[in-house]
Amino acid sequence: MPFRLATASLALTLSLAGACEMEEPEEELMLSAEIEMGLSVDGEGFYPTEQGSDQVLEYGAQGGMHLQIMPRFRGASGVVYLERSARLVDDGTLVLRSPTMVLDLPADADESWWHQPFALTNFMCPTPVGIKLYDREVEFTYELRDKNDKLLAKDSLILMPRCPSEVEEFCHDVCSGN
């Protein structure tokens, strides 16, 4: 395809895509379930936390550093899909897009809060090229969707990743984006 024609096609496509986006309903107004993001102790239990609180990066078993987050759910049951992402608060850069997780929520979760036995590991380091990921606020966003990709629930949590003092040098190395 001639380059000019390809460019024109692309522009048309983008413009149509933009138009469609504008007409889409705001799906967040129709949420039917809830997620609340919190922390855990030793990977277990749900503990609410404040936005922007410090959280020490944990040593991963294959040489990485990660943050543990415990989400809990209410208002949905059965098979649902959890999508997790993380962005830098200061410039919005995406620093993590985790593969979709399949959860099988028990019937109890329809009426009351339910969480998994273990917290979810959020891969932080090694960081993407050129991005420092400690002493810098990161906003984690979890979205719960059904099999038709309909958004059921959404929550965000801002944390300040900190390097553990006992492996600070290593942490700075793998979390600096170098």
Binding site: F3, Y59, A61, V129
Partner: protein
Amino acid sequence: MLRTLSPLLLSFAVSSAALAAWHFQAPQEAEACGCFVPPDPTVPIVQAGERILFGMKDGEVTAHIQVQYAGAAADFGWLLPMPSVPEMELGSDELFAQLTAQTQPKYRLDREYLGNCPFDPSRFGQGGGAPSNDSAGGESGEGGGSPLVLRDTLGPYDYAVLRADAKQPMLDWLDDNGFFVPAGTEDVVDTYIKPGAFFLALKLQSGEDAGDIQPIVLKYQSDLPMIPIILTSVAADPDMGVQVWVLGDDRAIPRNYHHTRINDAAIDWINAGANYAQVVTDAVDEIEGHHSFVTEYAGPSSIMGEILDYQGRFGQEAMLAGNTGAVEFVQYLNNNGFPLFGGQGPNGFNPTFSPLILNILQASLPVPAALLEQGITPSDYYWSIQYYLGTYRQENPEQFVDLDVEFVAADLARDLFERVVKPTLAAGSIIRDHDYLTRLFTTLSPNEMTKDPVFSFNPDLYDVSNIHSGKLVYHCQLRNNATAENTPAVLTTEQGFKIVYGDGVGETDSPDAPKPWSTVFMPQSSYQEILREEGEPEVVADNTDEIQSALNEARGDSGGCSTGGSSSGAGALLLLALAFLGLNRRKEDQA
């Protein structure tokens, strides 16, 4: 004290020949990869490359790892840090052979003949004429203080999972239990020693030989796949190839490595990209730290088709076991997809069994020694077993004095299904379970193995074809007595660069002659980029103008890119013709 013998780690093929899959080679050749260099225990054993297929689904990583080893069976050992206790299964060599074959970069030329070219194949009807360049290019139960978590056997392997929260107890346990650890491991293993971490250690069971080594499959919980390349640094070749396939929903990216698009004007198009691996090596070396990957294929996983697990392949174990005669048993294998076909043989095809199948068959139905001495390969023998045990044996009974066809069909069938059929079908299944396949490649020397590559995904990125097309135009109107070798020609690469062969492409036929792509001093990468988990690539360096300038300069200096001789009159005319035609480089790289 540690016995610093063979390590092993993961190993990979680097060159296109090595990557070209076992079914085109004799098994002895396939194993003679030179991955390891025993026997001095103080010298780290060297591996030539690594090949891994990662599948990502529901927070679980499935890693198919091909282990290549060419030392003594007793010296084989393998270590891998794990984030959790893994599930472990046997893998399939054929998976890697087919992945390699289907996604291998290929450089092809469309040829155009301007003027009265006597070597234009269309003048002679089909066939003949210009050489074909369609061949593949490129690369060518814990107890006490013991760290033991579990120990078991799987196929030919004896394996153990050890807690890695302390280094010395783990290394001592490996030493005490005959799991060899390569020299230098103590110095680099610290990165992976931490509470909650594990190591998988692998060795061959007693009685197995190196030919029994087959890929393994590990399943473990993790957000993203990672290669523990730092650990590999103790036993790696310079510029070791690292070949990774990632299955997922979207195109995979190297999260903490740069991304390189190679300069395709540096590719030896005339010889189907024979220098591809070297171009990649030089291109990634242009990045500071040499930490960069090239995407060789990104697109639908359907490129693999149903090669591994097509309907009816392998038949049924019970039916195979019912063939109690040697000829009938092997014929069942021949008729049910156990051998593969490729290469050139007397009948136009060349059925070949994998080294693993050959090893299994040899253990029960060995090839008579006299036949091997005559150069009859095991694959030839099993494929034509009816002939060899029939007519040929009647005519040459002296060659069968050691013939042994006593075997237990049920046992042999079970072995084949456990070690060959199930892993191959499972490999086919993981391909079909994921929509998208990405193939990435880099080379790293031991001193560059300072950062473990992690892979992530970006749904916004474009597909990358492994098929690359250039165009070669012969200008026969510029020369009398034109041949394909001496006719001035212009090659336009896929990225739009133009290489002028003022004295004809024949100048590349002599191995000693300077090559246009090697005598022009230019960047080997066209773009150096950072791939994020969303959005378009971030271009760190765009070398296209520099490449074009270098090509222009070379063209001006010599009437062609070659520096091997003086400018010819035809070459100068070709330059004028080029100018007249107003050929412009298309700047856009082919995505």
